[in-house]
Amino acid sequence: MLNVSIVGAGQTKFGRHDDYGLRELFALSAHEAIEDAGIAPKDVEAAFIGNLSADQFNRQTHIAPMMVDAAGMKGIPATKCEAACASSATALRAAILAIESGQHDVVMAAGVEKMTDLPTPGVIETLAMAADQLFEAEPGITFPGIFAIFATAHMAKYGTTKEQLAAVAVKNHANAVHNPLAQYQKEITIETVLKARMVAWPLGLFDCSPITDGAAAVILTRNKLAKKFTDAPVKIKASVQANDTMDMCDRTDLTSLYSARTAAERAYKQARIGPKDVDFAEVHDCFTIAEIIATEDLGFFKPGMGGQAVEEEYTAIDGEFAINTSGGLKAKGHPVGATGVAQVIELYHQLRNEAGKRQVDSPNHGLAHNVGGSGATAVVHICERW
């Protein structure tokens, strides 16, 4: 059982930011989180910052102290956490453990990525570095390609269809219409998805999350102090991270992520709830197939049923398991190192009943599922309303 709550949150708009660099994006999200918690930068005792690859995207290393400096913090431990697209969920987990250890009372967990500094081919190559460089990237795999391989396997084993994949994109775009911080606030149709330019067969452009700049930050404290910061803290009931083999070819199943199943199973145990107690979830839909697999790995639907579930609107905002009310990585955007914390910020707003037109009806529990690479890392957080 964890004793940590979220008492402040801040997120930049996700999208292409021509006027803001890495430091400004971080500073804006950190400032908003600090203000939301009603504290000052000097009150933050430690910061853990998720980032995949400022070294490749922006030719900048040593970014953790640089980021907290930009947000006006001084003299604190600032640490970068990297686990590919799950970077900031691992930062959040590190921040939670820093409080649980008794070392700190007020800790920031954040994530930042500025991807558009590189042209698209450079982005593709940088992301592919999160796969096994020698045995996967060398033969020519790309990240869309990795998830396309999962899609082909899922389709062959379960009969999942391209229309079902497309239904994920259509739903998440529809949800993002109500999220002012989303990259795309525009509805799309099944036909748009199916007719889109091919990226990695069977995945087309609209099966893929976009290239995004953005930052997200939360302020954490221990439960017994939480009410001093806000009337509506959000409790973190579980924080679990698990790994799997680095290489896809080393796995017996290409239709499910062992790391995600393992993390979910342990998270439910830690939170003392089951999948049926989850009212809504933010899952790692870097590609449409990833959302379908996620809803199966998390136990919301049986293996092979995720495609049908989205097609029949079980995962719509008013469905049995509302999935990616924020618009998901697909439409909200996917600044890779910021995504894990941004997912939890959606849980924070939903559990405080402040998600506006995308609000789920009185939720008690929300789950965030963040995946790194091809699933070599998965992190699951479960939050509960105060």
């Binding site: 081919p121 045995f135 330019r197 990695a200 069977p202 290409l254």
Partner: protein, 177 residues
């Protein structure tokens, strides 16, 4: 073969047109990519086992948008091949039309082949931004669809007509000197 089962040695063996997996003599497991320590029994893997190169397609994709390095190759197929001896490998699948993915099926039989290709000079690697550890040109390893119906399992025999079209295609797993 008695050599330490390092990645470096694996690529040296590829250069000799040998597709090998690390072998644990304690539990008999095979690993590809090679491992130094067997996760089953926590002992050092002891030697190499040469693989037949025969296998089946576990899954695949056709890459239409690639990074700079492989931009000239698109569209190309990357597949996960389950090898007869147990391990799987991620490799290019060549000799079939990447624009007709519906003609390729999970379960189709394939076999590895080798072709000599020129190696990259240090200058060429520098120009491509390729670290020296990537010198073996593993990306040029490929698997081709197998044409022999006896090895292709029953369910795939309907594809033989299609396979005929690629009978003369030139496929490779290869490496450089």
């Amino acid at each position: 073969m008695g050599e330490e089962t390092t990645v470096k040695k694996f690529f040296e063996l590829i250069s000799e047109q040998k597709l090998c997996a690390a072998h644990c003599s304690s539990c008999d497991a095979l690993y590809l990519p090679p491992r130094l320590i067997c996760p089953n029994c926590n002992r050092k893997t002891t030697d190499w086992t040469q693989l037949s190169g025969e296998g089946t397609i576990r899954s695949f994709t056709v890459i239409h948008i690639a990074g700079t390095r492989y931009a000239q190759d698109i569209p190309y197929i990357v597949a996960i091949i389950g090898l007869k001896e147990g391990p799987s490998v991620c490799a290019r699948l060549v000799g079939v039309d990447p624009l007709k993915p519906e003609d390729i099926h999970v379960g189709d039989a394939v076999v590895a082949d080798f072709e000599e290709i020129p190696g990259l000079t240090v200058e060429e690697k520098d120009a491509l931004g390729i670290p020296s550890c990537l010198g073996a040109r593993w990306h040029d390893c490929g698997f081709k669809l197998l044409l022999d119906s006896e090895i292709s399992d029953g369910g795939n025999s309907k594809n033989l007509g299609y396979f005929d079209k690629v009978i003369d295609s030139h496929i490779f797993i290869s490496s450089m000197s």
